[in-house]
Amino acid sequence: MKIHEFQAKQVFRKYQVPVPEGEVATTPAKAREVAAKMDRFPVVVKAQIHAGGRGKGGGVQLAHSLEEVETHAKAIIGMNLVTHQTGPEGKTVKQVLVEAGVDIEKELYLSLIPDRETASIMVIASQAGGMDIEEVAANTPEKIIKVYVNPLAGIQPFHCRNVCFGLNLPAPVMKEFTNLLKQLYQLFVENDCSLVEINPLVITRDKRVLALDAKMDFDDNAMFRHKDLLEFRDQDEEDPLDVEASKYNLNYINLDGTVGNMVNGAGLAMAVMDTIKLAGAEPANFLDVGGGATAEMVENGFKIILSDSKVKAILINIFGGILRCDVLAKGVVEAARNTKIHVPLVVRMEGTNVEEGRRILAESGLELFTAADMKSAGEIVAKIAAA
């Protein structure tokens, strides 16, 4: 679960990670009010969307007067911000963060992520902060420092020293930076983060360390123990069909193609998408109904696929293990009746109670194509979608 910059900075404050003074505003008048309260310039007006690259897209502006704050806020709130992370359709900005400008001496990069290979928390730092860090990593990997923290022991002083010396930090800054890093680590493990990123982390002219930006992502699987974080969720930032699917406990991702598909199991779902593509069509979605799918989940999956107007045909491929084929077949029949299905449907199923499942489909009176195996399933549905 991703959250906004201003929310991440609230979490930072809670952990004594220093951030510039500022507040979020949903109207230009409120933005002006926030700036007036701070009473110093310049002030930065930053668009609040989940995607990065906001500065390049015109979503971050510097203001030197209250009038300018209001003008910039007016321009940014409601704008459709397109960045390399939003996709070409962009994102509508609903709010801005109004923040005190900072006298910057040096820009650093700092992030924490779980490293799957070493089962450690990886601290990534670089002196080349502020700019495109992916580029730095690709072209000058020696400028990236990586330190691995064993979660059983937690962060130790030597980890911090390795980062400090690696960043070539001036001595007066080291203590403050070390405190920040330790706090960040606590924040990371106590909130089950999957990413904490500060870019840039700045050293000011008066030798303070300050998180100018904040990006935070949480492990969805751990949200059961962080109910407090759930209020940060902004469903407007998510695909509406994805949100709908998550209500029904379905694993759905909307894609650009025309062949809707419903599969049990994530790996098999991906393989089915690939099969559709190899047969010459494009998948309209990824939909994993899971191993324990019920007839009701199948029906809801159907509704979501059908609400995507791009869909010209649907392929259902179920390998019945825990999910029995007769249960699936009943769900399909029920869903087809209730949703008044208007596109051709290809069904391929195999596994537990398959004969019973096939009988239910055959006797349902539904107009559907049954495929004997996976390859013919892909070919049939691609042919229909192309017609």
Partner: protein, 290 residues
Amino acid sequence: MSVFVNAETRLLVQGITGKEGQFHTRQCVDYGTRVVAGVTPGKGGTDMDGIPVFNGVQEAARETGANCSMIFVPPPFAADAIMESLSAGIELIVAITEGIPVLDMMKVKQMLKMSDSRLIGPNCPGIITPGAAKVGIMPAAIHKPGGPIGVVSRSGTLTYEVVFQLTGKDIGQTTCIGIGGDPVNGTNFIDCLAAFENDPETKGIVMVGEIGGRAEEDAAAFIKEKVTKPVVGFVAGLTAPPGRRMGHAGAIISGGSGTAAAKIAALKDAGVHVCENLGYIGEICADVFS
């Protein structure tokens, strides 16, 4: 012969009294697996279908000689359950549970490094040696005993599809292992490849991967250097968009790494017979393993 589980395996089920635990324990018993104990804290002294239930793993293992544990404990308590088995010295731990927080699994993994136990999973269908023992949730009927093929996979139903096609071509399996779809897991491809390479009855290997991480690339390097038996490979997720998690927590293309194309290239380079269209994997196996 087989790898990791056989007719001698003495199975203990953690979470045996839950709905899933009960159902799948019965399926395993029906298949012939020797289920010797169950563990549900607070229900010690009772039984499930005559299988004694204990409050803790250590006691269960001591009383019944269990050497393998299958875990159906819900995600918030699953890491604890794995750690309990680790601490009790259970040789093989098979964690079926899906949705364990990454941070919990990182701690488990660090403990695992300090122990002699083997963990399979989490978020996996388990392991089956057809005709001998089933420790997991896979549909038993699709398997064909007697070998000669070993199967290892990151995905559940995808494995069933592969096994189904193998059996359809009259190709049996020695052992089928689902290593799970989570970013941090126990047994990896390399462990399984090494075991199959050393198992005299296994004559060929099918390896099923998916996007995310670099497990397939590491496996490819291992195959190139150490595996002499023929390997057929499949990688799911050619059409998966970057930055989106495809169901499995571990299946995500991030920062340009973890793509199916890169994994397929690495496998091909290692001499693996890569099947690009899952619909044909049975035919390709029949061809390669004949």
